[in-house]
Symmetry: D2
Subunit: 344 residues, 4 copies
């Protein structure tokens, strides 16, 4: 067996950072050599995240790209958008394989990026990044050194819709995605709307007609459709910590059985995607890198309804990043990711 | 002041029954004279629902329509569909004003009723019942003696959509309603999918393309549209006890400001409906008879998005039934219903 | 009927402030004439708390004691400890009846106050304040103009223990109170430990062997016992928004039936306290001013176990303040407080 | 590497059964050869627990001890008490190593067993069973072929108390254990008190002064104390699916630092027990076999307060069973159990 590869988790004081650590601890091919978090530099990771007491003896460092590049072959960036791109570029230029979990490198189109994000620190770098949804871009990921790991909403939406759009079974006109997310998707910084008494026992939409994950979804659907696709995307915050359910609507061009067959066909060889025969429950994928997808048609109205349930922090972020690393570096695709959902 | 009217709550061992009791206790115009629950007859209501300890000294009785009619002027029926219609007919024939919270009397069209419910114990009675959504049928409710109180999903959906459909601001083609419900909507009987560990911290759709509240929504939208309307309706079970959010999609025929103006216009004089300027949160109407409605347009796609948040047990059931009674009997419309939401 | 009394809610942007508004809206003897919140002055209360949309048309003001005194006869102070005492004194000196929900005026002993709070802005005022637990101090509350409304933990603990300690049925040596609180007890300001993903689906103790509600409990128990009493007090944060359960342990001097009889005897004439025959559930008092108390003895070990369940924001704060006002001003004790718990 | 051992999970349709499957899937030394569940025989495990879709292709069988013994070397019994003992005996007689998660084999004293359980199907077998708390009985577990895996409450209580009682730092007189459990501890069968709307957002004690886990705790504490110990034990049901916190009170015979030192000393070499310096949070051990323990002294009252947080389904049941198997069969003690807590 080879020596485990030294990897860095940059931005390890947030939820996706902690989830990367949890998953990488179970990956025999790597060794976490460095964890960074500028604001909490000097603290033990196990004090910031007590679930690691007795398992991880790492101290959070301030980010120093040169030092990371010297000690690590791979870096996962779990940083806010706007900050991540420049660091990705710096590390990548130093020869580090970079898995960027932020939005900075996901959009191919510069104008589109500027329209939604209003800044653009990483224009040239974006052209080199592979969009890290393995179920769509597995070939591009082999040997990749710079990966833009998708957001949680795009991951769920695309897993549900891409095979149906690609095969023409669902019209690309009037697509609607009504998505439901757990609160961990908002990160670890306390805020009024994520304060327990405000978030528990209630539901609300947010970012209506303007959420920044929209263009990512459109970019990828346009690519599989072979023409420009627009979607109406409505995210919701639900009283649960983890979990994401994307419920997608579009005019059906075929009966339910054909939609289901298209999903089965698309995902037959996939290790992480299950086509289920009942509407999927996010509880069943909690803590795992798995996706449960489903499609049917409302025969009275002709609407196709496609769904995908994932754990927003795993298949929607950190697990997917590890899956991308596995493909990029030639590990087994599910190395470190074989765990079943933690239910209940 | 007149003597309070004696009223009966038939089916008082379930959640909507208990909510009727809670609300009626605060209504100066009525006196709860009888509570029934066949399976728990002989038990104190305050043992079945300890929130009433010290406040209610009533014993659950087996239902005896003659006895109810003798002692009560008004009966609220909080019974399962299929059982309720016959009892409603019996009590009504005996001169009792009946507020039926079941689905038995809601659909005007006999074939439609049979298609969705498969039985039909109350065909003739249905013709006499007023559909008890005051915001649509206030005039018919004045003096009514038989009211079919709407379901929770139709209430939320219609409050969001009816003004927009009536005014033609949203197309009646391709309407989609993605609705989110708290678990109390499933009643008080334990079931596998409502077992705490299965329902907490997860979300799933159910009744996809076949939920029985669909025809009620279509009946009422067709009436306001002046033509037959079909909707794709997808209910979801969320990890919260109370609350319902209906998120409705349809092609917009006007910009957001006009939709919003139509809502404001429709609800200006309504006591329970607020047009809010941000996506509504079910937490803010919890425990109250209030509805928060909202509409906007995704200008990139032309989709209108209309929402309504209610408490499924209050405006979606028991509170609305009391509101209907108030209108039917000439009380102030908000008598017993003036409480604000219990937040947090 | 007399003109409703004008009252002020000082600190109306927090949870106890909002709960005061909710309860006072249903009180026919008062009219909310003023709501203050320095940091949010100028905002509509209904924007800060959307549950009041359509029900309250008040704008939050910066606190100006002279202005409050001019317009209001009564002021409820829902302010942080340390800030509240001086304002209470100012308003009281201007002739306003003050219900202070903070800890500033609760402890009679100056040294004790300084030991636990480390400051003392209100030493002389404390001597004039009545400790506002009506079940212990009803007589002192009649005509009171300055009331120190108890904390939520003391209220629950004292309702469970006081009758047993007074009657000598439980030893005052080695008393232990293990208390469980909902997250709203921590207030509305977001903090790491109240962030939804950190607070949901888990439990932990806090303030172990040092929570500031301890001396209040001891002061009142010492008074009923007629000698100095010390308690070991352990509060816990639970994944629920509202609710408080105090579970109290002490050596029993009599069998369970006598303890239960002592509770029944103490609370026979009380409107808000129910002696229940099973361990009480906080769900059954949610949203109401009611307390469910219970006592038994573990006959194998001789330990008495006494419990009380309340809603921390109602009987543990705002409801109790209204109850105190009713007694102070001669209203019916339960005016504005007759609602049953909102269950589920 | 040796061939993986074939193991059976008997009672695989409940939560502890599913958790055994989840953990054993990650254990390289074993292979799940058989899963049984009499009531659901013939169903796919992955249909009964969709988290296993794509990961487990096993069908639930009716239990046939001979068939299990023929195909499996090890059996985990996740059955109700009263049923489990006889099956354990049968399998054990056939040469199968048995890990029994029920209460049937835990108590050494026959009278005590009969007093608490009222039946006794396994009197002789109990004498042969090792009480499977590795932190107390590691030596007895080496080579054991019959293990009585402790309950969740005893595990948490003993991890907190045993080192303190053994060393005499806490008095054995007047011990109190106030324990808080997630709802999954009640199993997968729906019941009124575990119905989501009844269990969410509230807390209550149950089994007060009579819970059947009491004698187990007393048996083990008596053994470490060297004299008969009685405890007052009060379990509570909390609104969370997983997690258990035992908070234990007893008179301290030494200051906090000595208690803490005793815990550190006891657990220095333990792989799963962490002595933490703040009150532990069940969230931090969720999904893992880890325990976080803590002790302090209330210096004002002389009470010691010791706490342990575990996941009731892992260290409190299935994880501990796997740990026992590892010790019994000579695997690494943490094989299959190295995962960190799934937080948030």
């Amino acid at each position: 067996m080879n020596e485990p590869l030294p990897v860095a988790v940059v931005g390890a004081s947030g939820y996706t950072g902690a989830e990367l650590v949890r998953l990488l601890l179970g990956h025999p091919g790597v060794r976490i050599a460095c964890v960074t978090a500028n604001k909490r530099a000097g603290e033990k990771l196990a004090d910031v995240f007590p679930q690691f007491r007795g398992l991880v003896d790492l101290t959070l460092e301030a980010l120093d790209a040169a030092a990371v590049a010297q000690r690590c072959r791979v870096a996962f960036l779990a940083l806010p958008y706007g900050e991540s791109g420049a660091i990705a570029g710096d590390l990548h230029a130093r020869g580090v394989t970079v898995l960027d979990l932020s939005a900075d490198l996901r959009l191919h189109d510069t104008l589109e990026h500027q329209r939604w994000y209003g800044h653009d620190a990483a224009q040239e770098l974006r052209a080199q990044a592979v969009y890290g949804l393995p179920e769509l871009h597995r070939e591009g990921l082999a040997g990749a050194t710079l990966v833009a790991v998708p957001g949680c909403y795009p991951t769920a939406s695309l897993l549900a819709l891409a095979p149906l759009v690609r095969s023409g079974l669902v019209s690309t006109e009037g697509l609607i995605i009504d998505a439901k997310s757990g609160v961990s998707g908002a990160g670890r910084n306390p805020a009024p709307h994520t304060h327990y008494p405000e978030a528990a026992e209630g539901v609300r939409a947010y970012g209506v007609a303007g959420h920044r994950h929209t263009p990512e979804i459109e970019q990828e659907l346009s690519e599989v459709a072979g023409r420009s696709v627009r979607v109406t995307f409505t995210p919701h915050l639900l009283p649960m910590s983890r979990g994401m359910l994307a419920v997608c609507y579009g005019r059906a061009a075929a009966p339910a059985a054909e939609l289901r067959a298209a999903l089965l066909d698309a995902y037959r060889a996939e290790r992480f995607v299950e086509v289920v025969d009942r509407p999927p429950d996010t509880s069943h994928v909690r803590g795992s890198n798995r996706a449960h997808v489903f499609a049917t048609v409302d025969e009275r109205t002709g609407q196709a309804i496609a769904m995908a349930a994932i754990d927003n922090l795993v298949k929607g972020a950190s697990g997917q990043a590890v899956q991308c690393m596995n493909l990029a570096l030639g590990f087994e695709e599910d190395e470190g990711l074989r765990g079943a959902g933690v239910f209940p």
